[in-house]
């Protein structure tokens, strides 16, 4: 069995009285795509933000590549990237300029060929010289994904990465993620509200509700455990009655 690349133990995050993440533990193995599922406010985005080091957890332990995040932040983040529909990029810069800045930030070599490659893979040629503020939401999402793929990360956190994409580009994006996973052993933590996509992409799924893990396993095992044929039905069951048990 592949080594765990991301290890999370008893992770808790409280904002005053509100507990956003409540003692969750999980692992992601090398080359695995772990789906993080849950209703709005379940703690998915907060968990990703903690794993990226932009929110400090209240308690718990995070190890990435076998090293504790605290004390190895820079070393870990060099090999990690993310894409989120909730994060933008400098609006006055062109797509290409934004990618160059990211490449420099991560200290990449052969920047021109890397930018060309990612632009081609995400079919962004026609808007590569366009100013970011003029992009459609789908093009903006592709830029965010390009930023994430550009740095050749070993771990990728994708927060609703296909939310604004048309079905064709969304399908190509999923195929690209799977291809990089297959060829480079990419490890992915994936959130989406699209149940079909979640089933297609994830090797395993963790269902979060009010900051806690309420279900965990393969999509088939979760569906079977709740006696449902559709993951969406499981979602509705758990979202509406968090005490529901498999």
């Amino acid at each position: 069995m592949a080594e765990p690349i991301v290890q999370v133990r008893n992770l808790t995050k409280r904002f005053g009285e509100f507990t956003a993440v409540d003692g969750i533990s999980f692992e992601i193995r090398q080359g695995e795509i772990l789906g993080l599922l849950g209703p709005n406010g379940a703690g998915k985005t907060t968990t990703i933000q903690i794993l990226l080091g932009v929110i400090t957890p209240t308690s718990g332990e995070i190890r990435v590549f076998g090293r504790p995040f605290d004390g190895h932040r820079e070393e870990i983040l060099r090999k990690v990237n993310f894409s989120s529909t909730y994060v933008s990029m400098p609006q006055a810069l062109t797509v290409e300029e934004n990618l160059w800045v990211v490449a420099k930030l991560y200290g990449l070599d052969r920047i021109a060929s890397r930018v060309d490659d990612v632009v081609k893979r995400l079919e962004m040629e026609e808007f590569r010289t366009k100013v970011t503020r003029k992009l459609s939401s789908g093009q903006m999402t592709r830029l965010s994904l390009a930023k994430a793929f550009l740095t050749d990360p070993q771990v990728l956190f994708l927060d609703e990465p296909t939310a604004s994409l048309d079905p064709d580009i969304a399908d190509k994006t999923r195929a690209l993620i799977k291809e990089i996973r297959r060829t480079a052993g990419l490890t992915v933590l994936y959130t989406s509200h699209n149940m079909r996509e979640m089933e297609e992409m994830s090797d395993r799924i963790i269902f979060l509700q009010r900051g806690r893990i309420v279900a965990e396993g393969t999509a088939a095992a979760i569906k079977a455990g709740y006696g449902e044929s559709d993951l969406e039905e499981v979602f509705l069951k758990l979202a509406r009655d968090p005490s529901a048990r498999a």
Binding site: I55, R73, L77, E97, V101, K104
Partner: protein, 263 residues
């Protein structure tokens, strides 16, 4: 501290200025307007030369030097605001970039802004009023360097406050520096202040620079003591404020503010 991450941030802002005419105009417009208005007031006051000797050098020199401090502060604070406005903070701080590298990049950027603004004000003063700021001689170099560092101090303070309290206090980016203007004694000597305020002004490095400038103009002497005070206070404040900024950054990560600011 990695140079490539600092240069990445610098290129991000240079790309921005390359494409944004209003931002370039902002560097030229306000200093130019300031200089013109104050310049004519100075010309008027110059008619009373016997009562106010060296009035032109006093006022125009002070105005040009004040702009150095103001732009050094803005260079840091506005760069941070640019990241908030473009919702780019998470991209930066979820990368290997450290807060120290972020500050270093904005400080370098602020020097660039100071140079650009100074070219405008120095040339405008020469063209409109035949005033050459270099009459201040070699003292000008330590004056300018100390004002840049004083501007950095106010910039780091303002940025830390905006990061902690969000865009509601964005106005501090333009306003806070003017709180320091009365006690910087830009256009008048420290001695005109009430005694209690003089004590406060003496804790302000900028006040020592402007006081030193007046010593150069009136006595022609190099103001060693004023410069030593300015350097010492600047070193103390900058070290303290950088440490405070890191604490604020950690507090913002603790409260989840870094990802919410600008939303």
């Amino acid at each position: 501290m990695k140079l490539h991450r600092i240069t990445a941030l610098l290129s991000r802002h240079l790309y921005l200025y390359k494409r944004s005419f209003p931002r370039v105009l902002e560097i030229i417009y306000w200093p130019f307007v300031d200089l013109i208005v104050w310049g004519f007031i100075t010309l008027y006051l110059a008619q009373f030369k016997s009562a106010l000797p060296s009035v032109v050098v006093f006022f125009l020199g002070a105005l040009i030097l004040w702009d150095v401090l103001f732009r050094a502060q803005q260079g840091i604070t506005i760069s941070f605001l640019e990241e908030i406005w473009s919702r780019n903070l998470m991209n930066l701080f979820a990368s290997p970039l450290t807060p120290g590298e972020f500050l270093a990049a904005t400080m370098i950027l602020s020097v660039g802004k100071v140079l650009a603004v100074s070219c405008v004000t120095v040339l405008a003063a020469l063209a409109f009023y035949s005033f050459n700021v270099f009459v201040l001689g070699v003292s000008l170099i330590p004056f300018v360097l100390n004002l840049i560092i004083a501007g950095w101090c106010i910039g780091v303070l303002t940025t830390g406050l905006i990061m902690r309290y969000g865009q509601e206090v964005e106005v501090l980016a333009w306003g806070l520096v003017f709180l320091f203007q009365p006690i910087s004694c830009v256009f008048y000597p420290i001695s005109v202040l009430p005694e209690w305020l003089q004590a406060i002004a003496r804790l302000n490095p900028a006040a020592h620079v402007f006081e030193g400038m007046r010593v150069v103009i009136t006595a022609g002497a190099f103001p060693t003591s004023e410069l030593v005070w300015a350097i010492g206070l600047n070193a103390l404040y900058l070290t303290g404020l950088i440490a405070w900024f890191h604490k604020m950054f950690a507090a913002c990560k603790e409260k989840g503010l870094l990802v919410r600011i600008g939303e």
